[in-house]
Amino acid sequence: MNQPIIELKGVTKSFGPVNVLKGINFAAHAGRVTALVGDNGAGKSTLIKGLAGVQPYDGGEVLFEGKPVHLHHPREAARHGIEVVYQDLALCDNLDIVQNMFLGREEMAQGTFDEGRMEVEAAAALQSLSVKTVKSLKQKVASLSGGQRQTVAIARSVVKQAKVVILDEPTAALGVAQTEQVLNLVRRLADHGVAVIIISHNLQDVFQVADDISVLYLGTMTARVTAEGSNPDDVVGYITGTKTMEDVA
C-alpha cells in the first residue's frame, strides 16, 4: 500500500499511573475510510484527542505524509489539515449554515466579510458532497435536523480543505434514513481523496462504509484488518478481547 497520510508509531499516553495508550500503531490513507472501533475505555477518544492536538501523546512518533510532526496544539493539527467533527456537533445554533461553515476562518475583503464569496464556496462544498437535504444556506442551524447538522459539520471540513477528517460517532444520534445519508457523505468525502477516520460502535455502519478497520482493546491495537478481509464476528471478538492478531502490536 502507498504511503499513509498520517501514521502513528508506538504512541503512548498515560494519565498518572493509568496507561491509556500502550504503544499504538495506526495509519490512515488518502481516499480510504478507516474505522476505529473498540469498547468504552479502550482509548479511542484519547487516540483522537492526540491527533487533534487537544491532548498531546506522551511518547511515540506521529508521521504526517511521511514526516515526523508534533501535534501539541489544535492549531498545529489544523495547520496540517486535520479536522475533527465532534460527536456533540460543534455548531452554533444561532448562526446560519454559511456562518458556521466559515466560523474561525471567515473570508474578508476590504476589512469586512466577503459574504458573497463565502456563500458561493459553501454552496460548492455542499454540492461536491452531493448534499440534497439542505434547502437554503441562510437557514439558522437551530432549524436543521440532526442529519442536516452532521452534514454541515462534515461540509465544514471540505471548506477547510482538510486532508484528514476524524468523525467521532457521526451516526450515534441519527435515525435510519439520516444515518444512510451521513454514511454516503463519509464515502464521498473519502472519494475526494481525504483520509477519513471514523469512530463508531455500530459495526453495521462500520462494515458499510469503512475500507480499513483498526480495533483497540485496553490501550493496545489488537487488530488492523480490511473490511473485505474480515467479518463482524471476528471484529466483535477483537473488541471484546476474545481474539487477537499476532502481527500487530
Partner: protein, 427 residues
C-alpha cells in the same frame, strides 16, 4: 486566510446549475417573496424588534390620543433627549448580553466616570477634553477589570459586576463626598443634550445618512455579483431605504417647526441625535461585518463550538466588556448633559432599565440573539412610557410599575414565540 479573489474551484462550482439553485434559495426576488419570507421568519420565532416596534406604535397612539401635548415637536424633541442615555446604555449592554453575560455595573461605571469628569472640570480644574479622556479611561479600566475576572479567571459576570455595582457606588461617594452635588460646567458637553442643530443641519444629516446607506448597499451588491452570488431584488432595497428616508424626513420636518416660546425660537434636530446615530451605525457595523462581532454571536450561541473553531474566546469576551463599559461612559455623558449635575446616586438606577430596554427590544439574556437596533427600540419604548405617563400626571411609582409589566410582557411574547417555533429555550 487567503486574500486572492474568488478561488477557481468556487468560481467553477458557482456556474453549476445545482449550486446556483442552492445559492438562489433564500434570496428574495420580489416584494411579495420578501414579505412571505419575513412572515415565515416571524412564525419561526424570529420576532426580532417586531413586538417592541408594535408596542411603540400602540404607546404613541394611546398617549397621542390621551394628551394633546404628547405628539408636539417640543415633546418629541424632549423624548429623544430623554431616551438617548438609555439607548446608548442599552446598546452598550448588547455586547455582553450577546455573549450570555451581564454587566450590572454599567450604570455605576458611568457614575464614577461622570463624578470624576464633573468634579475635575469645574472652572479651576482640567479642560474638558482632558476630563473626557479621563472618563473614557475609567470606562476602559472598569471594562478591562470585569473582563479579567470573567474571561480570564472564570468568575460569573453576574457576581463580578454585582460586586462592582456595590464597590463603585462607594467610589462615587468618595469622589463626590456624601450628599454632595457638582454642577456640570463645560459648555460643549451641556450642548449635547440641550442644543439643536440648525434646521439645515437636520437635512444634511438625513441626506448624508441616506447617501451612506445607499453606497453601502450598492457596494455590497457589486461585491456579491463579483463572487458570483445572487443579489436580492433592487425593489426591496429601495423600499427599505425609502421607508427610512420617509420616516427620517418626517422627523426632520417635525423637528424643524419652531417649538420655542414667544421670546425664544427653538427649532432643529437635537445634537444628541446624530451622535447616537453614529454610535449605532459603528456598533452595527462591528457586530454584523467584523470577526469580533461574528465571534461575539458565536460564543453566545455555543462557546465550545467557537473555541474549537479557533476563536480566541478569552480575548473576545474581554474586549466585549471593555466596549460595554466604554459605551456606558458615553451614555453617562448624555445623562449628565441632560441632568446638568452629578451626585452620589448617578447611574445607580439606570442599569436595570438598560437591561430591560435590551430585553424589551428582543435581545436574549441567554446570549447569541439580538441586534443593536433592538436595544435602541426597547429603550425608546421604556422612555416613551416614562414620558407619556409623566405627561398624564402619573407618579414615578406608576411609571416603574408599567415599565416592569412591559418587560415581563415582552419576555413572555418572546418565550411564546420560541416555544411555538419549537426552538431551544436557551439559545
Amino acid at each position: 486566510m487567503s486574500t486572492e479573489s474568488t478561488s477557481p474551484v468556487a468560481a467553477e462550482a458557482a456556474k453549476k446549475p445545482e449550486t446556483q439553485s442552492l445559492l438562489g434559495e433564500g434570496v428574495e426576488h420580489g416584494v411579495i417573496d420578501h414579505a412571505r419570507a419575513y412572515v415565515g421568519r416571524v412564525r419561526g420565532g424570529e420576532m426580532g424588534a417586531l413586538p417592541a416596534l408594535g408596542g411603540l406604535l400602540v404607546l404613541f397612539a394611546i398617549f397621542g390620543a390621551s394628551h394633546e401635548a404628547f405628539l408636539t415637536p417640543r415633546n418629541m424633541a424632549n423624548l429623544m433627549t430623554q431616551a438617548a442615555p438609555l439607548v446608548v446604555l442599552g446598546m452598550a449592554l448588547v455586547f455582553v448580553l450577546l455573549l450570555g453575560e451581564i454587566d450590572l455595573s454599567a450604570g455605576v461605571t458611568f457614575g464614577v466616570a461622570m463624578a470624576v469628569f464633573v468634579k475635575y472640570t469645574q472652572p479651576d480644574g482640567l479642560s474638558w477634553p482632558v476630563g473626557l479622556a479621563l472618563a473614557m479611561g475609567i470606562g476602559f479600566a472598569v471594562g478591562a477589570t470585569i473582563g479579567f475576572f470573567v474571561a480570564k479567571i472564570g468568575v460569573p459576570s453576574f457576581v463580578v459586576t454585582l460586586g462592582l455595582f456595590l464597590g463603585l457606588q462607594g467610589v462615587i461617594l468618595i469622589v463626590i463626598g456624601a450628599g454632595g452635588t457638582y454642577r456640570l460646567i463645560p459648555e460643549p458637553i451641556k450642548a449635547i443634550q440641550n442644543s439643536n442643530m440648525p434646521v439645515w443641519g437636520g437635512w444634511v444629516l438625513l441626506v448624508g445618512l441616506m447617501a451612506l446607506l445607499v453606497a453601502v448597499a450598492m457596494w455590497d451588491r457589486w461585491r456579491r455579483s463579483k463572487s458570483g452570488a445572487p443579489n436580492g431584488s433592487l425593489s426591496i432595497m429601495f423600499l427599505k431605504l425609502g421607508a427610512i428616508a420617509v420616516i427620517g424626513g418626517a422627523l426632520v420636518v417635525f423637528l424643524s417647526v419652531d417649538r420655542g416660546s414667544v421670546n425664544q425660537a427653538i427649532a432643529g434636530v437635537p445634537i444628541v441625535v446624530p451622535l447616537v446615530l453614529i454610535l449605532g451605525l459603528i456598533g452595527t457595523f462591528v457586530l454584523d461585518r467584523t470577526k469580533f462581532g461574528r465571534y461575539i454571536y458565536a460564543i453566545g450561541g455555543n462557546r465550545e463550538a467557537a473555541r474549537r473553531s479557533g476563536v480566541n474566546v478569552t480575548a473576545v469576551k474581554w474586549s466585549a466588556f471593555i466596549v460595554c463599559s466604554s459605551l456606558a461612559v458615553v451614555a453617562g455623558l448624555l445623562y449628565v448633559s441632560r441632568v446638568g449635575s452629578a451626585d452620589a446616586s448617578t447611574g445607580r438606577e439606570i442599569v436595570l432599565s438598560g437591561v430591560a430596554a435590551a430585553v424589551v427590544g428582543g435581545v436574549s439574556l441567554f446570549g447569541g440573539r439580538g441586534r443593536l437596533m433592538h436595544a435602541a427600540v426597547g429603550a425608546l419604548v421604556i422612555a416613551t412610557i416614562e414620558n407619556g405617563l409623566g405627561l398624564l400626571g402619573f407618579s414615578a411609582g406608576a411609571t416603574l410599575a408599567v415599565s416592569g409589566g412591559v418587560l415581563i410582557l415582552a419576555a413572555t411574547v418572546d418565550a411564546l414565540a420560541r416555544r411555538r417555533s419549537g426552538g431551544s429555550t436557551n439559545s
